[in-house]
Symmetry: C2
Subunit: 483 residues, 2 copies
């Protein structure tokens, strides 16, 4: 409310406070802008987050209708708040987590409600003085026992939420029963409202743009193999400094594997949640989620070797270029062929086709390269006059690469098991006119190794086509069956 | 109810059904016995689990009193169930987790209650038709926005539960208000009952045998260092097969480090919860939990090297004993001195004393051993006539051990930072009569390295004494300051 006069007379003090205000406003504005940029990035990184938020809003608004419409309200009464509460606590990002919570909540409410009713009856029999004491004792004992059960690992993994809800419902029914004597009615209403809330949540979560945690796990595990493959494909080039324009290239492929090192807990959690999910797409109800964990654990073993290899890219722990280049040829083959094999296995998983055999020729090639490397080292021709101290890092790299091959073999074996356990589809080969039709089965996989490269059948049906479109590079290298 | 006659006449059929029944009963009994054995083990492994269960029972019984006693019940009414509910969902194993949940719940209820009241007033102004529509819109918008905010990493880590409670309370207040028009009363009651529940929970959790998550993190990180130390101390003996009675020894020390590889997520979670805890013992409110994560990450780097070393214990990837034994001496020193250094650092953390300098002489010794090893390798005297292929694994082991030394140095540096950030106490040396009193400070640490071993001051005050009692082996090696 400063008048024009005041403004002119007190310019200096005004402008200083004005400046302070301006600075504050700018700082605030800066924070707001930064915050909204973060939010925007969050939505852009995974637009499903926005959809999820809208779905939660929708489900809550839907159950709030129980309050809005009088007939429904009269039926459920004040207990309708349990429906709202159920939606808020049960609605999770993925279908598996939501189903797990919903089923846990409904089952626990049913069982604990029954037990609470029984306890209440029993307590009533013991007269007015005994009743509160008996109920207090029951509440204490049941709460303590069930809390202790929550520590059991097999309970914690799948039924932790249910056990918590069990204590809750048991206390509410047995304690509130003491007051209003409408125990059965209360228990029944609670059960119906919770069921309504759970079912609404599950329906909204499952039928509007569902996020299947099983699919996520599938992608993560396949992605892990791909990350390892990327590193190995690029490793030799980095280690032997084969590329010229060093600094300009994107080196992110050298760091991707790091997330594999620490993903164990997250994947186990996903596998546990995935077990709640019903059949969806190619994923059955009893999909072999444990086998995914097996593949992932083997990938982690490989990632530990890769972490050690990564250490040898540091300039301070390097054998002179000259000595290194002597083992360059076989090491390059081992590294890049293992990389290709892992990427084939990743693509097998992504496409859900029985194509793990495509990794075999790569593994075979790297095994041949190992033999070459061994012969070179055995002959004593290389590094004959070299300083043993200097060749030690290169020897370590060679040794690690040999181990990476056996890791890759183990992974290939595990993916092959997964193929049959998860009933991946057989690849439907499109036969070129001059070749007779051939159907590949598991028994023939052995014969594929070492077969000449000129008989090529291109896998070219729906889903894999789609995959190839998104990964044009794999068309060139990966998506052919060498017969 | 079979009579004696029937029993005799139908022996065969009776005995077969009797056998079936017996088998079933035995099976059931076996399962029950196994289950109770599991439960017993669960309690024996960590007796605090039993105490926690009893504490939960106690807290729930306490808040149930609101129902039992009429005056209290009249005050809180049916809303008293919110107190029970709060105890069940807020009570966690550790103080940090409980405080985090309790504060989140109270704060969220307060804020959302206020916003819900405001929304309700605003909606009432828009007339009878507009009211439910406006409330539905508000509920949808707020639920969607807050759900989206839960995806923000910095929110997810500390305020996830609060945001969920915010949606819940907002919906309950604004929606239920539409019905019973006692909005303010409802909101106030909900706030008081939730506060009562939270406070009861926090008091029981904190004052009866509290489990501090900060102390747990502290122990886990120190334990990680100790596990690495155990492996390294024993590694040389295993690799060079120095001990005779191979099979009879306990090899568990070779596997302990594996848990370090995958503990990242768990430790980060603990650090986040520890931030909620007030001052307790030597742990201040702003204890440097992040530094613990730094120490632990460096330990993990070291564990990756150890994982690679572990691979070389397999018989199939070994250099012949004869060639291996040539580098035995320096490798043994490096491995065992690094092991000792790591165990000193672990003990520094456990005792919370500024004694990380005790690790310095060990690191210095292993550095000397590295130089010896390098000289040996450089001289070309060893492995001169050996097959390079055969010596490759041994060279890799030597290379990895050298890297382990630099990992150990990094860990020592991080522990030294932790010492000063966390204000560990200075060791109060008990001076032997012939020595002048000396107080060690950070600047003197450098001078300790390489000092003669005969000036020994035994650290011998309260807490460390206690520690020494429980770890008698460290008295011999670790708890002296070499000046």
């Amino acid at each position: 409310m400063a008048s024009s006069d005041q403004e002119n007379s007190g310019t200096s003090s005004y402008s200083s406070s004005d400046g302070l205000f301006k600075a504050l406003a700018e700082k605030m504005l800066g924070k707001v802008v930064e915050f909204s940029r973060k939010l925007k990035k969050l939505g852009q990184d995974d637009p499903r987050r926005i959809i999820h938020s809208l779905k939660v809003g929708l489900a809550i608004t839907l159950v709030s209708l129980f309050y809005y419409f009088k007939p429904l309200y009269d039926g459920f009464g004040v207990n309708a708040i349990w429906a709202v509460l159920t939606v808020v606590v049960v609605f999770e990002f993925s279908v598996g987590a939501t189903l797990g919570r919903g089923l846990n909540r409904m089952l626990a409410t049913l069982l604990a409600g029954g037990l609470g009713l029984g306890t209440h009856r029993l307590a009533t029999l013991s007269g007015e003085t005994g009743e509160p004491i008996l109920i207090a004792v029951f509440v204490f004992v049941i709460a303590a026992i069930v809390t202790f059960l929550r520590f059991l690992p097999q309970m914690k993994v799948r039924y932790d939420y249910g056990l918590m809800m069990f204590i809750l419902t048991f206390c509410l029914v047995s304690v509130s029963g003491y007051r209003d004597d409408e125990v059965i009615k209360t228990a029944f209403r609670r059960l119906t409202t919770i069921t309504t809330g759970s079912i609404t949540t599950v329906i909204v979560c499952t039928f509007i743009c569902p996020v299947w945690i099983g699919v996520e796990l599938h992608k993560v595990v396949a992605g892990n193999l791909e990350k390892l493959g990327n590193f190995l494909e690029g490793f030799a080039g980095e280690y032997f400094q084969l590329s010229e324009a060093e600094d300009s290239r994107d080196k992110s492929f050298l760091e991707g594997y790091k997330s594999v090192l620490t993903s164990k807990g997250n994947e186990e959690n996903m596998a546990n949640l995935a077990r709640w999910e019903p059949r969806h797409g190619q994923f059955r109800f009893n999909h072999p989620w444990k086998q995914y964990l097996k593949v992932s654990n083997l990938a982690r073993q490989c990632a530990y070797k890769i972490e050690a290899l990564h250490g040898y890219l540091q300039p301070e722990t390097q054998t002179p270029q000259e000595d290194r280049s002597k083992i360059q040829e076989p090491c390059k083959i081992i590294s890049s062929e293992c990389g290709k094999a892992l990427k084939e296995l990743a693509s097998t998983m992504k496409k859900m086709r029985r194509s793990s055999a495509l990794a075999e020729p790569h593994i075979a090639k790297s095994k041949v390269a190992i033999e070459n490397l061994k012969t070179m080292l055995k002959s004593g021709q290389i590094w004959k006059d070299s300083d043993i101290l200097e060749i030690t890092p290169a020897a370590a790299v060679a040794s690690l690469l040999m181990e990476v091959v056996s890791c890759t073999e183990n992974i290939a074996e595990a993916v092959r098991e997964l193929e049959s356990l998860a009933h991946f589809k057989s690849p439907k080969p499109r036969v070129t006119p001059e070749d007779p039709p051939q159907v590949m089965d598991d028994n023939q996989q052995g014969a594929i190794i070492g077969a000449p490269d000129d008989h090529v059948i291109t896998v070219n049906d729906g889903p894999s086509d789609q995959y190839l479109m998104r990964n044009p590079s794999s068309v060139a290298e990966g998506s052919r069956i060498h017969l």
